[in-house]
Symmetry: C2
Subunit: 238 residues, 2 copies
């Protein structure tokens, strides 16, 4: 199983083709840290290894509960074998607690527990700063085929939340919010793709509300790697 051509380089991962294989790709988790649409950049040695490890476990967890994902297997420290899908250019953000851009944009108190699971769609387009969109926009820009697909994204986002909320609660982490990306398989099925890690989720310690995710980088709090390791260790039950 060897990497051939680099198909795509994102902010957190590289995607490589596999020679003679049109159905699978290798995702390599990078150490790059970016925030605010990559206006802020850094590196954290070993972050990619941690995210590969965490994502592997979380993908297995949601798959155990019937969610289809692009995950096939962890190949080594940094590499994950995944199904090749056409990524839907919509970031599906699922929120349990108001913080970050939600609080800032709409004036909702930081830390406020939301009365229900909030789902937001953002158009995945760096050049435009990933703007928030509604259903009409998604259809007009042909980001999906029809409104039923938007309902599928919303429902899958909520299902993943329903699985992960108790999971993280059991290891003393509050799942504040997270971003999911989905892809379409060759036969048109929508499955979970990308990663689930402290790069894409906000985790607060259940007792202290200490931030254990990329907000430590966004907000210059330091201790980024220790936070990611804490999440990994709790997942592993260490």
């Amino acid at each position: 199983m060897e990497k051939s051509e680099l198909l795509y380089e994102g902010k957190g991962k590289k995607l490589f083709k596999i020679a003679g294989d049109d159905t699978q790709l290798i995702a390599e988790f990078k150490d790059d840290l970016t925030a605010f649409n990559a206006q802020k950049k850094s590196q954290e040695e070993g972050k990619g290894v941690l995210n590969n490890e965490i994502s592997t476990i979380i993908f297995n967890e949601v798959m155990k509960h019937g969610i289809e994902t692009h995950f096939i297997e962890k190949l080594n420290d940094r590499d994950m074998l995944v199904k090749k899908v056409d990524i839907i250019p919509i970031e599906v953000v699922v929120r349990n607690v108001a913080t970050g851009s939600l609080s800032k944009r709409l004036g909702i108190e930081d830390g406020k527990i939301l009365p229900f699971t909030l789902v937001e769609f953002y158009y995945k387009e760096d050049a435009l700063n990933d703007p928030i969109i509604n259903d009409d926009h998604a259809i007009i820009m042909e980001l999906v085929d029809d409104r039923a697909e938007l309902d599928v994204l919303r429902e899958l986002g909520k299902k993943v939340n329903d699985i992960l909320l108790p999971y993280f609660d059991s290891i003393n982490l509050r799942l504040i919010d997270f971003k999911l990306e989905f892809g379409k398989t060759a036969d048109g099925k929508i499955i979970l793709a990308d990663e689930i890690s402290p790069d894409s989720c906000r985790f607060w310690d259940k007792d202290t509300n200490e931030k254990l995710d990329k907000d430590r980088f966004r907000q210059d709090m330091g201790g980024v790697k220790v936070a990611y390791e804490t999440v990994r260790d709790r997942i592993l039950g260490k």
Copy 2:
């Protein structure tokens, strides 16, 4: 019918109470021009008179087609008698053609005819720059009582569009987009409020695509008053 206490001063209108009357208000149309959330300000003598005249005719037009509004009667050049309502803090934007913030934010070509009537909700809150919201946000922030009310706003927006598109087309104007505000009557009915004017609509000349609305002010094109007069004169069949 005399103005008593000033109840509210907005960017384009003042709302006055009427002594001894709890069900009606007087809306006074101002000459102030504002754009980009009032970061840009000016005055245009006679603009308020034109908007009062235009809004009066357009409110009558939509009411003729069964849309309930807060409009009661035009009192004089600048003043309109309206029903007192609780304004729903959602700006309902209805678009037929991409331009302005839609084109800029989502990269949709300026002037592109949309495949269907696009409806957007914005949270009416100057301090936050009227941010765009989705249905979940509106419910979480309790801007409406339930999701059915959001559907009512969407449907009323589209109905007004269905009435006004052919109306303006018949006087050689393209109705590009417009912003509506709605209010609730004492018995909880949602009715159209605010104004319908070149301050709140974009009109392009059908033959030349010349802008005949507040974009002339936003874009420093000059000829603001002449544009508003052109709209008024076409409405009057002059």
